[in-house]
């Protein structure tokens, strides 16, 4: 399929958002864009993205198939997503999904014969305080029950557009895909649509009713300058309020054992950094200049790491990622983790 001039123009705008030599960053928005023209990511859409980014179709296809929001079959005008993750599920979301599926006669990621509605069950939509929720083209309908959900899909099929509980008035899935590609909602007033629901405001209303605010806020509090006379805080020892979790290498355990322990905290374990992101720290940042020198040495020694990616993209990329692997092995010296571990051992 030939893509419209409008789509081609938009593709150029998308690519221009990213640094010139990093056009591949435009791939996700471009996939939303081709979906806005065809209603799904078709082989032609994959080819279009590959063409404008100078990639091959396999590279684009590998990305397109990874993400849930890129659909591989034609969709209806409205994507109805029912949250069935645990919280919504126990509050009734599973019945909502089952009822709508039976009523429409379609299953997960299937479209009604009239081409109006594509149904899916969704994972937590970040609205658990409104559960059970469903979305139509990603705008929310809160606290739904089976009867209410059937009413919504009936109205959609009859050509109506029920008003979401929060968020903007409905548009079609293709129109929404243009927004997902990073373009402003062109409908007059749509950005202003929707007011916050009660759950969002609950804590605030309580505070307001009881006249509670945080005292002592002075917007003119000066920002301390390091050139100014030193405050009470010692320069090197853990600064006040520094809350670095103490997960520096404290012993001779193998990293694996230590990893398992920090990931499975018990009463004695301090709060770990997110599993896997363990940057061992001891409350003091490594002197930036040390890291800087080490970094510079690493850079001088190694070709700069490109965005080489795992094997399969191209042999060139493969070489680059091999380079990167050895670069990273060597640049460990430059990593803050190692720097502070070394500091700790001293």
């Amino acid at each position: 399929m030939g893509f419209s001039d409008e789509t081609r123009e938009r593709a150029r705008e998308i690519i221009a958002r990213y640094p010139a030599d990093r056009s591949r960053s435009a791939l996700l928005p471009l996939l939303h864009l081709v979906q806005s023209e065809e209603g799904y990511v078709s082989p032609a859409g994959v080819e279009f993205c590959a063409e404008v980014l100078g990639l091959n179709k396999a590279q684009v296809g590998a990305v397109a198939t990874f993400y849930t929001m890129y659909k591989r079959r034609p969709t209806g005008d409205y994507l109805v997503s029912v949250c069935t993750n645990t919280m919504c599920n126990v509050l009734g979301g599973q019945e909502v999904y089952d009822t709508v599926a039976e009523y429409l006669g379609v299953g997960h990621e299937e479209t009604t014969a009239d081409g109006k509605i594509t149904l899916e069950h969704a994972e937590c939509l970040a609205a658990c305080d409104y559960g059970p929720v469903l979305t139509v083209n990603y705008d929310f309908f809160d606290g739904v029950d089976p009867a209410g959900a059937v009413k919504i899909v009936d109205e959609l099929r009859a050509g109506g557009r029920p008003t979401p509980s929060r968020g903007a008035r409905l548009c079609t899935l293709r129109e929404m895909s243009v927004q997902l590609a990073g373009f402003a909602d062109s409908r007059e007033g749509a950005v202003a649509d929707g007011v916050p629901g009660e759950p969002t405001l609950r804590g605030l209303r309580l505070a307001e009713q009881h006249g509670i605010s945080v005292p002592g806020f002075d917007p003119n509090t000066p920002i301390r300058s390091k050139d100014a006379p030193a405050p009470a805080t010692p320069a090197k020892a853990a600064p006040t309020g520094s809350t670095a979790p103490d997960v520096k290498a404290p012993d001779a355990k193998s990293p694996e054992v230590r990893a398992a322990e920090t990931r499975q905290p018990d009463a004695k374990t301090p709060a770990p950094d997110s599993p896997g992101t363990r940057v061992p720290v001891d409350g003091t940042a490594p002197a930036p200049r040390d890291a800087q020198a080490a970094e510079a040495a690493g850079v001088a020694e190694n070709a700069p790491a490109g965005d080489g990616k795992p094997a399969g993209d191209s042999s060139e990329a493969q070489e680059r990622s091999l380079d990167e692997a050895s670069a990273s092995a060597r640049s460990e010296l430059a990593s803050p983790a190692v720097a502070s571990e070394k500091e700790a051992q001293q």
């Binding site: 640094p19 960053s25 435009a26 996700l28 939303h32 980014l53 990305v63 849930t68 993750n85 645990t86 919280m87 126990v90 994972e123 939509l125 970040a126 609205a127 305080d129 409104y130 929310f140 927004q179 990073g182 402003a184 909602d185 007011v195 609950r202 804590g203 605030l204 505070a207 009881h210 509670i212 945080v214 002592g216 002075d218 917007p219 509090t221 920002i223 301390r224 390091k226 006040t240 309020g241 520094s242 809350t243 990893a259 905290p265 018990d266 374990t269 997110s274 896997g276 940057v279 930036p288 890291a291 800087q292 970094e295 490109g306 990273s328 640049s331 460990e332 430059a334 990593s335 803050p336």
Partner: protein, 438 residues
């Protein structure tokens, strides 16, 4: 509904959420009337290093789940290295139960934009990205609108407010993948690849976006910055506890009278939060809850008085995570809840490493069998054994997180499992879900 006691009400600290009560705060003119961009003007007059020190002094810790000290993270960025630096905001909110970043971006998007500009100035980044979850369309509308307004007013672009500092900010929508919340998977996704985590080291602080020094911070973390710049580190520390300073948005969902967002001083307890939320729903008694999303081990009614700060929750054997407290009652089944979470982890596993990809696949099948009334006692050992092989061996936190509900529910609610296995409880799933389970 009974009114909470004054000492409980005093735990409320409306700071980041405060503007949500002003319906037009998403618009620049209202935002400016409510202190908006005052912090930016102040920050641009300070030395970037002093801003990093200020954030260190405030004790601010990441709001994305890990609680890493923010100032320290910023300090890791090598300066004068001749490479471009990047700030990437993690707005991929997807941890089950978590629902605080979306309302913030919808109702007060400029506070995030202002925080982005200040943080970028501090770490000397001239390009920043907000990677927002694809499904969060209304938040993205408001955010894109705010960015356009900020450009038009000279808060973004060249020579911001005459300071000589340049910054470009792009709002980049994801496409539906929980794993892209993991910071290195996010960076790969932002570079146009499948969102799969990277090996660390090297860390994003030196090799992040485009292999350049990068700070990845959560929405709440960055949105806190303007308040710290205005009110100062000492004021910030009047809230929270010694090692977990400041206010935190606690997201309450489930079997309580009034679910919703409650911004409180860190260290508030679940007992107090439930009091603020008007108590449990009539007819429901607290049975289990997550302190910070489904990847944090479940707690029970015995933990009502645990201070919900990083240290307090860790001492109780769980993780503060995203302060998404999902509250379940005696009418909810912990085995079924865990099963449904595992379906989620199985669906969202990126497939890069074997323990998570295979472990979740099989654990889902074991749960189906148990819930269909066909489980065996050995199944419980199999579950624990599988968790043993996932936790600490998975490539990223997703795999580790998947084991949390399994091991914690087995720890506190083994009897519920046995009731299914020994036929005392009616099966929740039909046998037709068992295809493929051996």
């Amino acid at each position: 509904m009974t009114t909470p006691r004054p000492e409980t009400l005093a735990k409320l600290t409306p700071v980041l959420t405060k503007r949500w009560l002003s319906p037009d705060a998403w618009q620049l003119r209202t935002y400016e009337r409510l202190d908006g961009y005052a912090a930016l003007r102040k920050a641009l007059k300070a030395h970037p290093d002093d801003l990093i020190q200020l954030v260190k002094d405030s004790g601010l810790r990441g709001r994305g789940g890990a609680g890493f000290p923010t100032g320290l993270k910023w300090g890791f960025i090598p300066q004068g290295d001749g490479k471009p630096h990047y700030l990437v905001v993690n707005a991929d909110e997807g941890e089950p139960g978590t629902c605080k970043d979306l309302p913030l971006m919808t109702h007060d998007p400029h506070s995030l934009v202002e925080g982005v500009i200040i943080a970028s100035y501090a770490i000397r980044a001239n390009r920043a990205y907000i990677y927002i979850r694809g499904e969060a369309v209304h938040a993205a509308r408001r955010l894109r609108h705010a960015v356009d307004e900020a450009y038009a007013r000279g808060y973004l672009g060249r020579n911001i407010l005459g300071s000589g500092f340049d910054l470009d900010l792009v709002v980049h929508s994801g496409a539906g993948a929980y794993i892209c919340g993991e910071e290195t998977a996010l960076l790969d996704s932002l570079e146009g690849f499948r969102g799969q985590p990277r090996l660390r080291p090297p860390f994003p602080a030196t090799h992040g976006l485009y292999a350049c020094p990068t700070v990845v911070n959560n929405v709440g973390t960055i949105a806190s910055v303007p308040y710290i710049v205005l009110g100062g580190a000492d004021w910030w520390k009047t809230m929270g506890t010694e090692k977990s300073s400041g206010p935190m948005i606690y997201s309450l969902s489930g079997r309580i009278a009034n679910p919703g967002q409650y911004e409180c001083s860190m260290g508030v307890t679940l007992r107090e939060l439930i009091e603020l939320a008007g108590g449990m729903k009539p007819g429901h008694n607290l049975r289990f809850w997550t302190p910070g999303g489904s990847s944090t081990p479940l707690l029970t009614a015995d933990h009502l008085d645990v201070p919900l700060d990083f240290e307090g929750v860790a001492a109780a054997g769980s993780i503060l995570g995203t302060t998404a407290t999902q509250i379940f009652s005696d009418q909810d089944c912990p085995v079924y809840a865990t099963y449904r979470w595992l379906e989620f982890y199985h669906h969202e596993s990126c497939g890069k490493c074997t323990p998570c990809r295979e472990g979740n696949y099989w654990m889902v099948r074991v749960y189906r069998r148990i819930l269909a009334g066909q489980g065996t006692h050995e199944d419980l050992d199999t579950l624990l054994d599988t968790c043993d092989n996932v936790l600490g061996r998975a490539f990223c936190g997703l795999g580790d997180g998947a084991t949390s509900p399994v091991t914690s529910s087995l720890k506190y609610f083994k009897q519920d499992y046995l009731d299914y296995i020994e036929g005392r409880k009616t099966p929740r799933l039909s046998e037709k879900t068992l295809v493929g389970a051996h």
